[in-house]
Symmetry: C2
Subunit: 333 residues, 2 copies
């Protein structure tokens, strides 16, 4: 049905090799160039990238595997990457693995069969075993948000321990001692790091760490709602909360709003990510923000460099810093 290179060749009286050469920027005589362009126009020819991919072994497609698409940190990064990659002619296939190792492996295998040129992963499985196929095939791997020592790959991450430390420092400096931490599951790297930052800050200030004040949710809004409700019921002595990602921040705010607990009078709060959300609240929320734009552009940039030939240079580890956006949600005790 659709026109092929052969049709263009017949129409113009040229050989297929010449057409192919033209399509790839090769030189053809002016007269022939016109003929070819006319034929392409008339026959509505469009290169078949599938065939091209089979021959060249490059699909100009990048796989992206993330734990949750319904997570604004992920979607912001994806948006940024997609933008950069598509400008360079690369498509991205995004797979959400629902924070499930098995689904993650399936997604990676799926992308391997599709012969994507490289893979970007915010990994659930910390061994990285699911990525071995790509490693063997010598296809570039870029990891977001953690290190995978067993795998030959680049990684882009933020200093999560420091991020939690910054939040805690603010709360402690304002005289808070009973600080609730709303964090993710221990087996998620970023959650663990943030928990460690929380503990380190307390210890440094000489405040004992009360494990009862640490709520392990699942990084979702719904989970945090339940977790915060329980924490408030069982520990009325808490004067401040630190929520260690955006979804849980929202969950905490929902509970506080629905219970009519005023901020910061009755409860001080520090959240995570999403500046617009923080600004839309009254009083404005103090948050720790991650540089999603920068992460996205670093990841895309590294991937492009690896794709365009830099196969041998050593794996890179890029660390980015979080920042504090100060609001009015912390009370001085």
């Amino acid at each position: 049905m659709a026109a092929t290179i052969k049709d263009i060749a017949n129409r113009t009286g040229l050989g297929v090799a010449t057409i192919s050469s033209y399509l790839n920027g090769g030189n053809v005589r002016e007269k022939n160039r016109e003929k070819i362009e006319l034929a392409i126009e008339e026959l509505h020819f469009e290169v078949n990238e599938v065939a091209r991919g089979l021959k060249t072994n490059r699909t100009h497609t990048i796989g992206v595997v993330i734990p949750e698409l319904n997570n604004i940190f992920c979607t912001e990064i994806i948006t940024g990457m997609e933008d950069i990659l598509r400008k360079k002619g690369y498509a991205t296939i995004v797979c959400d693995c629902r924070t499930d190792k098995k689904l993650e492996r399936e997604a990676v295998d799926f992308l391997y069969r599709k012969r994507v040129d490289g893979i970007i992963n915010m990994p659930v499985d910390s061994t990285g075993a699911h990525l071995e196929k790509f490693e063997k095939a010598n296809k570039p791997i870029v990891i977001i948000d953690r290190k995978l020592p067993q795998i030959y790959c680049d990684s882009v991450l933020v200093d999560n321990r420091d991020a939690a430390g910054k939040a805690m420092e603010i709360l402690i400096k304002n005289g808070h001692k009973k600080i609730g931490l709303i964090t993710g599951p221990e087996d998620i790297y970023t959650a663990k790091e943030r928990s460690l930052g929380y503990e380190a800050a307390l210890s440094k200030a000489g405040i004992p760490v009360d494990p009862n004040l640490v709520v392990h949710c699942d990084y979702t809004i719904r989970g945090a709602v339940a977790g915060v409700e329980k924490l408030l019921d069982e520990h009325p002595e808490v004067t401040a909360l630190f929520a260690a990602n955006y979804e849980m921040t929202m969950g905490a705010m929902i509970v506080l709003s629905e219970r009519g607990i005023s901020i910061p009078q009755k409860m001080s709060v520090i959240g995570f990510d999403n500046q617009e959300f923080a600004r839309a609240l009254h009083p404005k929320l103090t948050i720790i923000t991650q540089p999603t734009e920068a992460i996205a552009s670093q990841v895309a940039q590294i991937m492009l460099e690896r794709l365009e030939g830099d196969k041998q240079s050593l794996p890179r580890e890029i660390y980015l810093k979080t920042e504090v956006m100060t609001g009015k949600s912390v009370k001085h005790m």
Copy 2:
């Protein structure tokens, strides 16, 4: 490098046709099945979907073209669709066209060259000209959020006029007469429909429509911030605001929060989409919500049906209703 069907054939002493048949669910003798599976295991064979796609003319990939990835309505729909489609073995390639007709066309052409099996589009170009290639190739097209009369395709949409009508009814019933509308550009179908719903509701209630109270932003947070600031400065008589999508709702809330305008005492507000956001605010925001889950599953379902053979049945138009989630952000005058 990677093992091919031929390698498996050699290893097992069988023919390539037999291996192919096995891979596609055909029958082989028990003894051979074991041999094949062993060989696949040992050689780490994975079907090359690119080659398969060339031969079968089906890539098991769906293209999705949307105006903005940074729009929660879009991302929610995408998440839902991706989930359903991938369970059936389809990958999705998502392209964000930044609400730009030219980029939209480029994205569609790009996906056509990649020979996606079908396309899902929330169109910017209302003529649908960019989709003609898919129409000619007889590949299924599913449209979200508007109708494209010139193109043979299915569409899934919500009743936007009614959505705006519902919001206005609440405000009018509560005695508001000077109601500001924060809406999108006139050339975006959903924005126009919502504007029409606004006007219709006012007229029906016998309240004159003051075009100065209608702010045309660009459907973004930033745009709404500027628009609402201007509106408040120039029209202090406004007692209520209706923001016609989620991003603009957030923009409006940012301005109100930063100016310390209390809700609903000084200003009544009705927003759009994102229930969690509405709940996290205090007082809880009244909003109009779109059934994103249902939209996603309808779109995916229709696409799957078209892909699995139903090429001839007439184009479908699915209408879904919005709902009101009542908060405490509207004052009775």
